[in-house]
Point group: C3
Chain length 347, copies 3
């Protein structure tokens, strides 16, 4: 998947501004989990369980906290080993190119512009007026609609469709099969049938967004569907027309967000969540897996909600605990009724 | 997205058989929401909130009800402004062509027939015996399987797959990534493994159906999966083998309908609904978001159901209101028990 | 969909090691449901309702149990008619080829290897170092990533993406639009944004697996996502990074399995189920439709669970029955309170 560059433990520690304990000259040329690691792979340990696995690992160099002792290893001491590991991996490993150069079978319209060092894979199509930013990689079979804009250093894996006029910021990653800019699901009912409401808006995806495989993002009906910088979206997610998603929010697989709902920044939307139309999910809110947010509802800043209809987690837990004890409650009420009857009979 | 034709307000009023109030000569060349509209865009107002936005809008011509006063605007007076707006938009705006002519890279089998004025995009494939109707547009990278039939004026966005033998009526629209005619999920368990049950049926999609992006419609096992005229299906929807959907029913995103279930006409199935196998959803029934319909269940004509397992909305609300008061009920029962104990002790 | 070979009823009975009752010389050249069958189609009957339809069918030859009398038909007597039907159909019907030969527009990298009698459809791409097994069929527009391995007699329908390094065993079937090997959804939060955790692992799919349309299977982050032999996966299913699925397990449409969860063998996962991260679903367990399994939870061997959060079916039913009677319980408690009040007042 990746081309690796060799770095010494010292260079990695310098990159992280971290202290090093043990030999700084060990050479690192990859990253791995502790069990499958080679000597030259960097590993990390952020829990006791991981420390035990790290101790047994063939890896020589470990990212860990200062408190973690690992005899015989070169330790690079950081506060958050997993975060440091992610940063080093991104620095050390250049991901395999999705495409390389403009393939002779790519169809580039006359008015499309391809930036310097950008590449377009086989059978990809870039329509009239579309622009591909510098160093962007467009995978095989992608379709970049007329007037669409792909920013610098974007990576579109094979078989991504951008409908006309969709814009992606810089460093956006889109996985295979995802469709951005399809018509929103808007109809007006009348005279016994559905009439299509115009779906003429657009989609604007900001910098550093990543979208998984086979997801769908609809264009605005008359406005814009907006995904802010740093948002991460998993596979098979549905984003409807006119939705806005704030910065650095994460949305797990198979979640659906209905028309005109607004999700704030740094929110966490778990898997299979359903957000109906016109909802407001404020900043830093958390929607638990399979939660259902009814139409027009607001989830307050930082609130954690669960269930359908979604309610605050502590309330959900209290109610659910009661739910589990319902059969018992029925028994208790029956006993009370019998005692009451006996008592009234005995009067 | 669209090529527009200029029309006067008078022409639009005539098209709608509507009265006009104000200058009938203003020229209209697009449609928009009130906030982003130019002077030449048609807007509509069907609520007080919209009327205020319309009053402030740069747009000169407004579709609204007779009661709505909008000084200085040309008003076209209709009963249902949103419906009229949808009709005018469809009449005024020719959507951008998905393809144009038969692209030289399209692969058309020798026995396939391409109707007059139909177009087939780059790298699309039309297999043996398939027919493409007059004026139909087949997007780039579509695969039209052997013997499949695409009706007149259909629009298939890029990357749609029709498996062999699938038939689409006239004016069917299918968005990017959707797959129609894949094998149903049918296996017979025996001798410790799953044996594939034959999936030899077909899919018949009638006129004026629209299907969103990345949805899937399976072929019948031995019969036919049928989608009737005017049905509208959103993104990421699953329609299993041998399902039938009645006319003008709408199905929102991420809903799944299992094998051999029948949905009537004019039903409304919200998002993330799960309909198990062998269910009957009668005409005009409404299934609320995330509802779950258990195997073999019937939802009666016009009934509105919610929840999992789904039940009538009023029952759902009554039970759910009780659910929210459960912690309180537990307290009340405990108090009763204490009083009872005191009373019995006091006897 | 299929090319059929003619066989006599005798040959079919021999293939099944089954007894025959009636003329053994009738010629069979297809399979069908009883209603749509021609005289030469094999049908089956495994219930009274099916037997009545079989009696009225034009089909001459019926797979049924010995107890089922069907005057005038040739009966092939088996214990499990549906299973026998599936076996005969697979034996009798060669499915239509997905591709035939290596199409001149397929792009095969110099170091890729294509096995004997394998075929690669138009515009498909086989990248460097990939191998396609003997008799495998790669549909149009498929992308087989660098170093990926497709086993013998696999069938990939059009528009399947295998990311780099993904391996499929023998006889694996993958339907259109499915993506295998996309990056898992792994980020580490720090300094106000999400950092991508490396997604460098792979996906290993064993023999005889079938995966439906538009499903997604993510690669392991540092390890491997594994799907064991005989697993059947429906449409629009999400399998996250580092998940393992045991042999012959079936997973219905729109289910999602989160990171590092393990599902045992012969499990049955119904539609729209959500399994959170780090769960263990033991062998032969059954998760009912729309069930939600919370993070880290274990479902015991053979256990049948329903609901969110999932609980054993009998418990689910008991609690749910109570839930339906909640309004009544509230009334009963209020009556008790009134009686209690009256009693205390009366003391």
């Amino acid at each position: 998947m990746s081309r690796t560059v060799s770095r010494s433990a010292r260079e990695i520690a310098e990159f992280l501004s971290a202290r090093i304990d043990g030999s700084p000259d060990v050479s690192i040329s990859g990253v791995a989990g502790p069990d499958g690691a080679r000597a030259s792979d960097l590993i990390y340990a952020d829990s006791l369980r991981y420390a035990e696995r790290a101790a047994r690992s063939a890896a020589v160099c470990v990212l860990c906290t200062a408190e973690m002792s690992l005899t015989g290893k070169t330790r690079i001491l950081v506060e958050n080993p997993k975060l440091a590991f992610a940063k080093v991996a991104a620095w050390l490993l250049a991901p395999a190119a999705v495409s390389s150069g403009v393939h002779p079978t790519a169809i580039i319209a006359g008015t499309a512009r391809i930036g310097p060092e950008a590449s377009v894979g086989p059978y990809a199509i870039v329509e009239e007026g579309a622009t591909i930013g510098a160093r962007a990689q467009i995978g095989a079979h992608c379709v970049i609609g007329a007037g669409a804009r792909v920013g610098e250093a974007c990576v579109l894996y094979p078989r991504v469709t951008l409908y006309v006029g969709v814009t992606l910021g810089d460093r956006v990653v889109v996985h295979s099969g995802t469709v951005i800019g399809s018509d929103g699901f808007g109809y007006v009912y009348g005279e016994g049938r559905q009439w299509k409401f115009p779906q003429l808006g657009s989609v604007e995806v900001a910098d550093d967004v990543e979208i998984g495989a086979n997801s769908t993002v609809d264009r605005g009906s008359l406005g814009v569907t907006r995904i802010a910088a740093g948002v991460k979206i998993d596979n098979l997610v549905q984003i409807a027309h006119n939705v806005t998603i704030g910065e650095h929010t994460v949305i797990a697989a198979q979640t659906g967000i209905s028309g005109s709902s607004n999700v704030g920044h740094h929110a966490v939307i778990a898997g299979q969540v359903g957000i109906a139309d016109g909802c407001t999910i404020e900043d830093e809110a958390v929607c638990g897996a399979q939660a259902g947010i009814p139409s027009g509802k607001t989830i307050r800043k930082g609130q954690v909600v669960w269930g359908t209809p979604a309610r605050p987690l502590d309330k959900f837990k209290e109610q659910y605990a009661c739910y589990g004890r319902l059969p018992d409650l029925f028994t208790r009420v029956r006993e009370l009724e019998e005692k009451m009857k006996a008592m009234q009979g005995g009067k």
